[in-house]
Amino acid sequence: MAILVDRNTRLCTSGITGREGTFHTLRNRDYGTQVVAGVTPGKGGQDVDGIPVFNTFHEAVAEQGANTAMIFVPPRFAADSILEAEDAGIELVIAITEGIPAHDELRVYNILRKNGRARLIGPNCPGILSPGKANVGIIPAAFFREGNVGVVSRSGTLTYQIGNELAQSGFGNSSIVGIGGDPVPGSDFIDVIALFERDPETELIVMCGEIGGDAEERAAEYIAAHVSKPVVAYIAGFTAPPGKTMGHAGAIVSGSKGTAAAKAQALEARGVKVGRTPTQVAELAMATLGAAST
């Protein structure tokens, strides 16, 4: 088991003919992901290293049975592409694209939620890796192996850092899900943690948060009410000054809101251990799973 992507994933990449789109799609296929199609308007009928390219998602779904989309188009085309994928019946849309206008994200989020047909991960995220099963996105799979720790994160490289610390402590991963650092992510911690809670392979959940918004605080409430599995957290940005956007569009402390300290406090108040450094997270994971297995 794993969540979201696995051996049943049938991937279609939007923007497959772009440089990055081609590179990562083929890398995902090399990992073992079933890549069944690509979409680039105007290039229908071509192929990318044997992967058929279509003009529309509807054709990719009808002819190749695609069920998962990876969005690699530039920001100005991304919202349209996500909506097209959903309209075509794609169930899981993973948007890697960074820099999508916030109002586009708002519109996409709300239409997907009201229709209730498709799940969106990202945008501005590294994708999802289920080690040994499928990799959709840009997560460097070499550092991770199969195991029982589920990771969900607002950040990419930070996830690799933490994953690597976990790996060095002997842990593997069920799935690693990057939800992205944008103001309106398609899925948030709660959505993914709920999936890990139901996933039999996952025995520990690690969530990597950062400053900005209140996704971590809401996750804390949710965990207290609905999650039986142990959760270990990390929050980046304890020392971030207010009013400055720290790289991610969503990573900003506004006034007294969104500080790392408040998030850590909210989590700890509900029994979630929070590591102060990536190394500490690995230590907490070891302590917890040791305790959990007795």
Binding site: P140, N164, G247
Partner: protein, 381 residues
């Protein structure tokens, strides 16, 4: 992107939000000419993005040309909490019967625009929110439906505005919402929204934040500048496509990925150091981008040591090493560098650095050790 008051008011006017007539001015001469055209009394207002301008002398009423000149001379070039005044906004003085507060905020948590209205205008709204939260009427708008007439009525009645202005205040909220959506703002705030003695509704101030990612759809907005808020290092980084935030310390930081860089700042601070900046070199950075990033970091004269913290995924550690070597050739930095390379091609990267034998470059294999080392070096420099 934060707009100056006058830029926000000009944007409001395009969407039918009533604002007092006014003109911008960059020189005393322009200011006096504007005042003469607008008539007296008029307000001479410093254009800087900071609250409490008025109390600090940044807003003055002129009753004649001599006063307009004197105020313009006093305010232009003034320093208001660290920001230099380069521009003025001259507008007709308004009579005020009541001061309200109105805003539309991009509420990330609710994933919907949040519209707020309060009759406690003209005050710090965060203070109002803390002390009497019930004084602020709040309402989320379904972005697929948009702002409806009933939203305006409900906010107006809940906020307790005067009965005779329920309709025009609701109409102004509708127009502010329209501006918020049409211009792709993340914040539109009017404080104070005034009711004049003849019961007109007007925006007496304007605070607008636009989404930088959407500026390609709004070429006119993309031209707007605020010289007072520009930091030379941040400008330089922006031109090179780097994500850079200047901080107050003496340790330059470079990492790949926003989360990892934030984490690096925390770890450095935890080791007793003070970061001089946030710099995300991004994913898949090539040598040239790394060299440019080093230049940006070192253009801050406070930097006494630099930490490279790279966890290679898409980014290849050998490319980072090459970039650092290139930067040393070009800039010949004198401050010490601590380099932590992990992940994709880390062995090759470390090898390249060893071969280059750059002066003052130290490698560490973990983030914690690298942070400890750079703090030590910065303290010793």
């Amino acid at each position: 992107m934060d707009l100056l008051e006058y830029q926000g008011k000009q944007l409001f006017a395009r969407h039918g939000v009533p604002v007092p007539a006014g003109q911008p001015a960059r020189t005393v001469q322009e200011a006096v000419a504007a005042a003469e055209q607008i008539g007296y009394p008029c307000a001479v207002k410093a254009q800087v993005q900071i609250g409490g301008r008025g109390k600090l002398g940044g807003i003055r009423i002129a009753r004649d040309a001599a006063e307009a000149r004197a105020h313009a001379e006093a305010i232009l070039g003034m320093d208001i909490r660290g920001l230099t005044v380069y521009e003025l906004w001259i507008e007709g003085a308004s009579e005020i019967a009541a001061e309200y507060y109105a805003s539309v905020v991009f509420d990330r948590s609710a994933k919907a625009p949040l519209v707020m209205l309060s009759t406690k205008g003209g005050m710090d709204i965060e203070q109002v929110a803390d002390e009497s939260p019930e004084a602020i009427a709040r309402l989320h708008v379904d972005p697929l439906l948009g702002f409806q007439d009933f939203h305006g009525r409900r906010l107006a009645y809940e906020a307790g505005v005067d009965d005779d202005v329920v309709r025009p205040v609701g109409a102004m909220l509708a127009k502010l919402y329209e501006a918020f959506v049409a211009e792709e703002a993340t914040l539109v705030e009017v404080n104070p929204l005034i009711i004049t003695p003849d019961r007109q509704v007007k925006a007496l101030d304007a605070k607008v934040t636009l989404d930088g990612n959407a500026l390609y759809r709004h070429p006119d907005n993309a031209q707007l500048r605020d010289r007072s808020a520009e930091d030379p290092q941040e400008q330089m980084a922006k031109e090179r496509g780097l994500t850079y935030v200047k901080l107050d310390g003496n340790i330059g930081i470079l990492g790949n990925g926003a989360g990892l860089v934030m984490s690096t700042l925390d770890v450095v601070k935890g080791a007793g150091g003070e970061p001089a900046n946030f710099l995300d070199a991004g994913g898949g950075s090539k040598a040239e981008a790394i060299a440019q990033a080093v230049e940006v970091i070192l253009s801050n004269q406070s930097v006494e040591a630099v930490l490279f913290n790279i966890f290679g995924g898409i980014t290849r550690c050998d490319e980072v090493a090459r970039g650092l070597i290139e930067a040393f050739e070009q800039i010949k930095p004198t401050v010490p560098f601590v380099v932590r390379l992990d992940g994709t091609n880390d062995v090759e990267g470390r090898e390249l650095l060893a071969q280059a034998a750059l002066p003052n470059v130290y490698t560490e294999s973990t983030m914690d050790a690298a942070a400890a080392r750079v703090v030590e070096l910065a303290a010793g420099s």
